[in-house]
């Protein structure tokens, strides 16, 4: 999948692998780009988090700083499959996500594993006149969550799928990472679907792909 490195990417790599003032100038120029992207991204994602003004600028600035450190440390891992800047911006996305997860817990008091099952019909778009029809299924789902999942799978499923807690915030709270949390959520969903199907609640769904 390799491709010829474009001149601009080559120039970035040369500057980052240099020493002294050339490297410092390259880092400063890169930081400027990262900061611009971080500000844009933080602003794009800030809507639901009541985050604005100096606090938003501060978050973007920290994200750009940490992204620069990560890029400088990992530059030898850049394999030239994309432009250097596109590769570098990935680290800004990661850092903005991480900083927003921290901000989430500063402004949210909902316990990670609070199970508000009364919200589920609304979450699933069940209309009031359908509540009776859904009652048995939702009870079966609740039972499967309680009995078929491990403690950690239950915590993750309830937080992400029922309480709408961002996955990065769950990862932060559990001292884990996004990939591990996603895997737990994936396994939990598969178990729950299998359990509902085995008990005749979702006869069509056991092997269905989304």
């Amino acid at each position: 999948m390799g491709r010829t490195l474009d001149a601009e990417s080559r120039s970035w790599l040369q500057g980052l692998r240099a020493v002294g003032s050339e490297r410092e100038a390259t880092l400063a120029r890169l930081h400027g780009l990262l900061l611009r992207v971080a500000r844009h991204e933080a602003h794009r994602r800030s809507g639901s988090l009541q985050l604005r003004g100096p606090e938003l600028d501060d978050l973007a600035s920290q994200a750009a700083d940490d992204a620069l450190l990560a890029i400088a440390a990992k530059v030898d891992g850049f394999r030239g499959q994309s432009r250097f800047t596109t590769w570098a911006y990935k680290f800004v996305m990661f850092e903005v996500s991480t900083k927003l997860a921290r901000h989430f817990w500063r402004t949210t008091t909902v316990p990670l594993d609070q199970q508000d099952w009364d919200r589920l019909p609304d979450l699933l778009g069940v209309q009031p006149h359908q509540h009776a029809e859904w009652h048995e299924l939702l009870a079966a789902l609740r039972r499967a969550v309680a009995e078929d999942l491990t403690d950690r799978q239950r915590k993750v499923f309830v937080a992400v799928a029922l309480n709408n807690v961002p996955m990065d915030a769950v990862a932060l709270e559990l001292g884990s990472n996004r990939n591990a949390i996603y895997k737990m959520l994936f396994d939990a969903r598969r178990k729950l679907r299998a359990s509902l199907a085995a008990n005749g609640h979702l006869p069509y769904a056991a092997s269905r792909r989304p």
Binding site: R45, Y89, K90, M93, V126, Y182, K183, R193, L196, P210
Partner: protein
């Protein structure tokens, strides 16, 4: 009894899904394929499957697409 697509979505998993780490590894390539006017979903079906069900990686993808599409000009 029609339980509709909402429960399906809540419990959806796709065996092709490559997960968050692999998505991060390839996201820059995926974005540039898209910016070049090609279809990254056919070249990276497992990554496309992941982006359909992972809100966190979907947000990263949208942000990277915007950044690579113009903010570095």
């Amino acid at each position: 009894m029609n339980h509709g697509s909402s429960l399906d979505k809540l419990l959806a998993t796709d065996p092709a899904d490559v997960g968050c780490d692999r998505t991060f590894e390839l996201l820059d390539v995926y974005v540039e394929v898209e910016l070049a006017g090609q279809d990254p979903r056919s070249r990276f079906p497992g990554l496309a499957a992941h982006l359909r069900s992972c809100e966190a990686c979907q947000a990263d993808y949208q942000g990277l697409l915007a950044a690579a599409g113009g903010l570095d000009e």
